[in-house]
Symmetry: D2
Subunit: 369 residues, 4 copies
């Protein structure tokens, strides 16, 4: 019986250009470079517009993997989905998570649903399409393609959808203006939120979490519209959306399982515990014999109403530190405390990803079966 094998490897890094950990795993035969489908990373930049650690990490990875794959660095960047989330505020620790997928012949796989992964991408967007319905619609289509690629038919089997999406720069705004079109915002920093929000609404539409009639003006306003599994990160280095679907399937022979929960607000410890429980794990220190934590994937944001459980926060009024940095630090501190490690993937800007002020939290564990 043919089936799919999915692997997940968390690798600590000592800088955004550090590829040594991955190269060691390739050198030892643990990772077959041809099986690498996606690499998610936390890099130590500011996570904002001028966070060059993301493109530096991608550049270093592509250069290092090129000879392994017999491809040019540019071709590597086309082949593998790289999602670098900048910002390791507080106790968050820079690291990579490498996802591999390969076809295997297995006489007796596990009978339960195991981790599976699928990918797709949209066409390139025009600057004026970002944060608007074109981005929503195209993303929704790509999510469905990625689900098929993952071997998932039931939306309930989707536990995390990671999207990498573009942002606006001065040059891109000017290009739109030169065509006589206005972009959704002229601020590069604000455009990151719009792009993340529209992309998340695309996930919600694809999974039936919301209706398909979302309008331009709903983006960053109708916060009752959201996906419970979307995680979107904007970066300067692309003009299309890359979609990675993580879920569960009986066709997967993976050693890994995935589960998720939704944080209702930035201090929702119960949701984090629930997500850990969903894969059979508990609070740190985890003393479960037959499984271990691989990584946690979560989104964080400053609640747009300016308060958390009735108490005012100051993240949105801070001109010194962007609210995404504040939110990653705080939610990262909570998740790290509950999980027992700061090497978790907490990404900022959870617009339409979970309820306003909250966000999705997914956990991957490795079973020792």
């Amino acid at each position: 019986m043919r089936t799919t094998s999915v692997g997940v490897f968390r690798i600590a890094t000592i800088g955004p250009g550090d590829v040594s950990g991955l190269m060691n795993l390739i050198g030892s035969g643990t990772i077959d470079p041809r099986s690498i489908l996606a690499i998610l990373g936390k890099t130590e930049g500011n996570g904002g517009v001028n966070d060059f650690t993301r493109e530096y990490a991608v550049s270093a990875l592509c250069t290092a993997l090129a000879p392994q794959l017999g491809l040019s660095p540019e071709a590597v960047e086309q082949r593998i989905a790289f999602v670098m989330s900048g910002g390791t505020e507080g106790v968050l620790s820079p690291h990579l998570t490498v996802f591999t997928r390969s076809k295997v012949e297995r006489p007796a796989g596990p009978s339960d649903k195991r981790l599976c992964i699928g990918m797709a991408h949209t066409r390139d967007f025009l600057p004026e399409e970002l944060g608007r319905s074109a981005q929503i619609t195209e993303t929704a289509k790509a999510v469905q393609v990625a689900m098929t690629d993952a071997g998932i038919t039931d939306p309930a089997d989707v536990h995390f959808v990671q999207i990498k999406c573009p942002l606006l720069t001065s040059e891109r705004v000017a290009a739109a203006n030169a065509r006589g079109n206005k972009t959704v915002t002229t601020s590069a920093y604000s455009s990151m939120a719009y792009s993340r929000g529209a992309s998340a609404l695309g996930v919600a539409a694809a999974l039936g979490e919301i209706g398909s009639d979302v309008r331009d003006e709903d983006v960053l306003r109708r916060y009752d519209l959201f996906s419970k599994v979307a995680s979107t990160s904007s970066g300067i280095e692309l003009m299309h959306n890359v979609v990675i679907v993580l879920g569960k399937s009986t066709s997967s022979a993976s050693e890994f399982v995935i589960g998720h929960a939704v944080m209702e607000d930035a201090i929702d410890a119960a949701a984090v515990v629930s997500a850990l429980n969903s894969v059979g794990l508990g609070l740190a220190p985890q003393s479960i014999a037959d499984r271990e934590l691989v990584n946690i994937f979560a989104k964080a944001e400053a609640s747009p109403d300016g308060s958390v459980r009735g108490f005012r926060h100051t993240m949105l009024e801070d001109t010194d530190i962007s609210s995404t940095r504040h939110a990653r630090a705080a939610v990262g501190g909570l998740i790290a405390g509950l999980a027992g490690t700061g090497a978790v993937y907490v990404s900022g800007g959870a617009e339409h990803q979970g309820p306003a002020g909250g966000g999705p939290v997914a956990v991957i564990a490795r079973l020792s079966d």
Copy 2:
């Protein structure tokens, strides 16, 4: 039987100059202004050298309380201990905690130990004494005076010692140089750490947590020397140390109890839970019928060895955001998640306050007896 009554009031603020909450409690008779002994606050500045929200808050409080007490604002500042900790990163919420103390005649007080409070202060320091043994020794003396003032004889009954201490500015360094003396550092920001560290060692010496033979060169180096209950904050507005001892005593008729634990590192969720348990509380949401959380007091810092449980953190290498801001955000996120509220007092810079990278965490609860 004469005994002491101690009150604790947590009051949310809408800005560093906001005194309306306190004035309302005075207006309604809930707080007798003459009973106010100390006010601890979290204000929304950067918590660094140029955090003027601390002195602004103190100025606003003194101006508002002056007519209530029939004193000049300057005299109010001498009478009441104001400790403003700048920095409400992440989910931390600006607020004041007002401590009152009065003598009461009570025929039948509680038989168990209840919250008590005592105060003292050192002489003014010279700039060149900050961060050195003079500051340690004088602080130790003041802690003992404050314990006596609180009615505590056994160091085991001390649960939290809050100290407000000075820092160096360019002017103060120049003044020392003009006298032919060198200060421990010429950097204003670094001096905050030295002053906090020496003050904490003073607490440790007073409580017998360390020997009395601490030397100048141990400050910010011998991190195995620390106090489990010291919390020290440096500010530009004074040149002496103010010491506030919080503990338990049978002479107190307070409705409040206090307990504490020590976080071994910045993600020590178990210690926070232990501190909550020590006053009979549990995880959020707290459903205990006979008691409620009033506030949590904790110190946070970036571990000086650059890692947390084996994973690298980037707080000490960040030139954009000071490590104290990072640490407050992360530890604040964890404590807020476990306690269920961001209106907690998490202060940055835990040098010699708890083990390296960790810090003390104290909890005050109100009993409904």
Copy 3:
């Protein structure tokens, strides 16, 4: 012959709460507190949304001046126009500029035009009116009232119009939403730019620099519409615009003269020199015998097209430091170098104040006649 006497005093401060310099001048009889019309200040905050040094400075000044004027602090704030511009980046030095005005009997005043000053204010705005035509129109009216108050009839005699205007906060946006109205932006930081821009367009309309048919959508878009003398600063502490007109009039018996120029971009040294020349001054060190520099008032901004004279700048893409801080630092460095002092009033955010990327620069000199 009755005429008006106008005084200008630049006073260095050692912190946002420092009023000692002003109090000394009052104590020595140099300044009559009843003659104080306006106080412009540079304070050392971030100049952004959470810059509390502005309100702290105003609070300290009002408290100090109250007994001098026999008024409550609140009444002082109504009587005197306080404009605090936060942000003393680079070599900029915190200081106050106090403007006084009084009626004097002078048999033989100077025959040339001397410095005069006038004031007015608009009604309070609704949050949804900020950055839109209502703010433009009301500001234009107030400018004309202030010109009359200054004794100016010819717009050519207006050399600097300083305006203090509101910004949006989370609470204010929510209030507008609750009324079913949308604000021009939901970002507090962005709202500062909109409010400054609309206020500047109000000045331009009042002085005939642009037509009166400005529309909502022109704000922050039609950068060819601007005033050459407007300087607008937004602050959290008010909901109306305060207008201060500085110009020249033969009815003034002042020892002071004023002139101005317009910087075409952020590195327009020639314009600064021209402004200095307009009051008979030259480059630093100024060796003119019969006159001395009192202060320079200028606005700075990052050019919205992302470049200065063909070379890319990075101010608008920086998530760590706001572009207003960058621009103040750079323009402040240039003006300080040409003038020979960092105690100059350079304020950030020059939307519709001078051409895009440039800004007005006015100079006041004291004649020793």
Copy 4:
């Protein structure tokens, strides 16, 4: 008659990884890649410890030049001196300056002294040697080697000495501690200043500007000891000092000339003008027919005494923005204004490089003879 030809090319970049401008000049034959001796760059990071734009730029350049030179990227990094100065605050514009050198046969070179360049490097330092006499002494030796390489015998012909030097990280401090040695500081950010300072003192010693008896304790204290031509930048990517000497020699057949002056403080416009005059240029816009500005190289710092010409600055007390960023922005604004372009090399941290608070400023012009 054999002689040396030196070329200087200023190339704008659109990001730290942008090598297209250089590749175009190589492609067109304007630059022979084998002649490239050094590349100085301004990159758009924070210029602090965690500024990864510097190593990203070097990585991108090495990768791009490797096939051109038939070398591995690592070998390119050994062959060419790369000095990336992070921080393009204010109007400063990211760019590269490429220095080439080749031997040419010229029958009739110019009879005057023209631009020459020489290079050398020290051995690797131990972490505990940084900021101390070992770094001073070794740097002085390397300066003399580089002078010889440039063809300079008279120190008066040296106009600019660019040094790239290491900094301390948590790991490096720990390594020293593990050997039982203490580093000069445990703060990564502070170590940058120590390393820059000791390197500059090495230049001063080599050129006879100071005596050779400099002691460890003089570094960052005896600011009367300085070099008028040293420019030092610290970066995380190396453990030795790289020395580049720029000067004038009759053996050079270059089209370029160089001159310099010393800014006495951060607003010393006269010194900048003097440096421009030294190569026959004037104020912007420069209308000289026979020569054009290529680039200006300057160092900036916040004066350690906290004031500029008697007025307090706030750069050293700012916990939000490092003083090096403030200083670059301000001095960059002044130089850009006087030169007419923001594409100038202004680098932060001028410890012992020029007098306290000032710094060297060198100008290179191209003659059209």
